[in-house]
């Protein structure tokens, strides 16, 4: 148990089915450790987004146990979930920007939801928009932004609150390789500040760009390594659950 206590997230034998269909995720067990950088790969339809939905508490698993920040989130009463969600940063595959709000206000959303004083909102948001190269578009509404620009707003919104766990679903799917790299650097910077990062992608080139990253591979709803041990590249003291090798 000491393992999952120091873990930021642990899945134990998790399964997920939508409605009465067959399971899209099966026997998922893994552990995420604080400060690590994970890639989640797999073919389209392998279940990456489904797994991330469990991670960002948008979905309950059909079976299995999930612990997060040392707490069993499956049995947690609904009313306590917001405090857990506020410790997460999420880049949704479909961005999910609020259409009526400007880029600035979209990025400010997590801060305002968690009640950050308004005086402490403007500067971080402006800095973040600057980071993703959108300061000149801060007044723009999502509909008037390009796909890549929307994605960058979504990323800025996910990282603005310095989350404990960042979950990003194909965060570089709509940007050119140069911007992709830049965004990856942003995640790395956040990672160095202590945030655990999980990036789902099927862009294999991306994996090599973060040498310290660990890789989870989903294949038809199962983690490729049945023990769920993540060890790529193998590094002492990081992400290893011992076992497996």
């Amino acid at each position: 148990m000491s393992d999952s206590d120091s873990a930021i997230v642990s899945f134990d034998n998790v399964g997920l089915r939508y409605g009465t269909d067959s399971e899209v995720l099966r026997d998922i067990s893994f552990t995420l450790y604080p400060g690590s950088f994970y890639f989640l790969t797999g073919a389209s339809g392998a279940g990456k987004t489904s797994l991330l939905k469990l991670l960002y508490l948008a979905q309950r698993p059909s079976r299995g146990a999930i612990r997060m920040f040392g707490t069993d989130v499956i049995t947690l009463p609904r009313g306590r979930l917001p405090e857990f969600r506020r410790r997460l940063g999420v880049v949704f595959q479909d961005f999910r920007l609020v259409p009526h709000l400007s880029a600035f206000d979209n990025v400010a959303l997590p801060l305002r939801v968690s009640g950050v004083d308004e005086a402490d909102v403007a500067k971080p948001v402006a800095d973040m928009l600057d980071w993703v190269g959108l300061s000149h578009r801060h007044e723009a509404r999502p509909a008037t932004l390009s796909g890549g620009e929307q994605q960058r707003v979504a990323i800025a919104r996910a990282v603005i609150g310095r989350p404990d766990l960042l979950v990003a679903d194909e965060p570089t799917g709509n940007v050119d390789p140069e911007m992709a790299l830049k965004l990856l650097r942003l995640f790395e910077a956040l990672n160095r500040l202590g945030t655990t990062v999980v990036v789902a992608t099927h862009d294999v080139h991306l994996l090599k760009k973060v040498p310290e990253s660990l890789i989870m591979r989903l294949d038809k709803g199962r983690l490729a390594d049945p023990t769920g041990v993540l060890r790529y590249p193998p590094r002492a003291g990081r992400g290893a659950e011992g076992g497996g090798a």
């Binding site: 009313g79 506020r86 609020v98 400010a108 959303l109 939801v113 308004e118």
Partner: protein
């Protein structure tokens, strides 16, 4: 309806308890869809008019009833003028001795003449047509059937030509009409209230439906049910308030016009149909009730939608 400043204000209000005025610029103003504020305005206007009508009728009936409660009329029906005069005086004597009678007044010939002139023509009372002598009586108690019969019995000997009527008895049918109109007003108010509530309910639901995505996003970013409900209930309450105030204004304008028409009737009875201060409070509460319904609807609807999410 699409004013952006309103939107931003709503955002600020929405999250005000969570980090100051400007912290609330979170969610678009969940505007009631299209014509809904106007539908609400019309509903409120009709409700106000119907309620005002009902209350005015109530007051009118109350006033008339109070005024007429102790009122009775003694007519001396006697063809011969001298005999009529004698009997009328006899009646007055009996009345002056009767402890149940508060006051009485012989209606002067001139007044009677004026009263009858439109029907009988000038000078008619002088000659051909015998006109009864009229004595207005105000009893100490209620002029109910028993009291009238008692008075009739007392007068029978001294003035066989005297006939006593309670004033309310010949107004009986009028009271019947008033009562029927009042029930109609009550039924109208009930129906309109129901329809208004439904309109507000549907409007709130459609406003929330079109903002479902936003609700879900804020939910996933860690917004609590209470926070999210507050945003929507406030902006919908604001729209309902706008519609309600417009409706109240329209309704009051309608009432003023109606009241003027009634006043031109010049009847003392209609004059008793004004509104008391408490009635005005009731009318003013109608749009507020709309706001309350809208707020509760928005809250219930948002919370129900949220409960379906994890």
């Amino acid at each position: 309806m699409s004013a952006r400043p309103g939107l931003n204000r709503a955002l600020r209000r929405g999250f005000a308890p969570f980090g100051g005025e400007r912290a609330a610029r979170l969610v678009p103003h969940a505007r009631l869809a299209g014509p809904m504020p106007w539908v609400i305005a019309i509903m409120v206007a009709l409700t106000v008019i119907a309620a005002a009508g009902g209350l005015a009728l109530q007051n009118m009936a109350d006033n008339a009833r109070a005024e007429l409660a102790g009122g009775a009329t003694v007519q001396v029906l006697e063809a011969l003028e001298q005999e009529r005069e004698r009997q009328a005086e006899a009646v007055e004597q009996v009345l002056s001795a009767d402890p149940d009678v508060a006051t009485y007044r012989r209606v002067p010939e001139a007044e009677l003449e004026a009263l009858l002139e439109p029907w009988l023509g000038v000078g008619a009372t002088d000659s051909a047509v015998p006109v009864p002598a009229l004595i207005d009586v105000r009893l100490r108690g209620v002029a109910d059937l028993a009291a009238v019969e008692r008075l009739q019995a007392r007068l029978a000997e001294a003035a066989p030509g005297a006939r006593v009527d309670a004033q309310s008895s010949w107004l009986g049918p009028v009271f019947g009409v008033i009562a029927a109109l009042q029930w109609l007003a009550i039924a109208l108010v009930a129906l309109l209230a129901l329809t208004s509530a439904t309109a507000v309910w549907l409007a709130a639901r459609s406003a929330l439906g079109s903002n479902r995505n936003t609700i879900e996003i804020i939910h996933l970013l860690g917004g609590t049910d209470g926070q999210i409900a507050r945003i929507f209930q406030r902006s919908i309450a604001q729209d309902a308030l706008l519609g309600g105030i417009a409706g109240l204004a329209i309704g009051l304008a309608g009432m003023v016009v109606l009241a003027r028409q009634f006043r031109q009737l010049g009847s003392g009875m209609v004059a008793g149909g004004g509104l008391a201060p408490v009635d005005w409070i009731v009318l003013g509460a109608i749009p507020l009730a709309g706001v309350v319904i809208a707020t509760i609807t928005a809250r219930v609807t948002v919370l129900a939608a949220l409960r379906k999410m994890l």
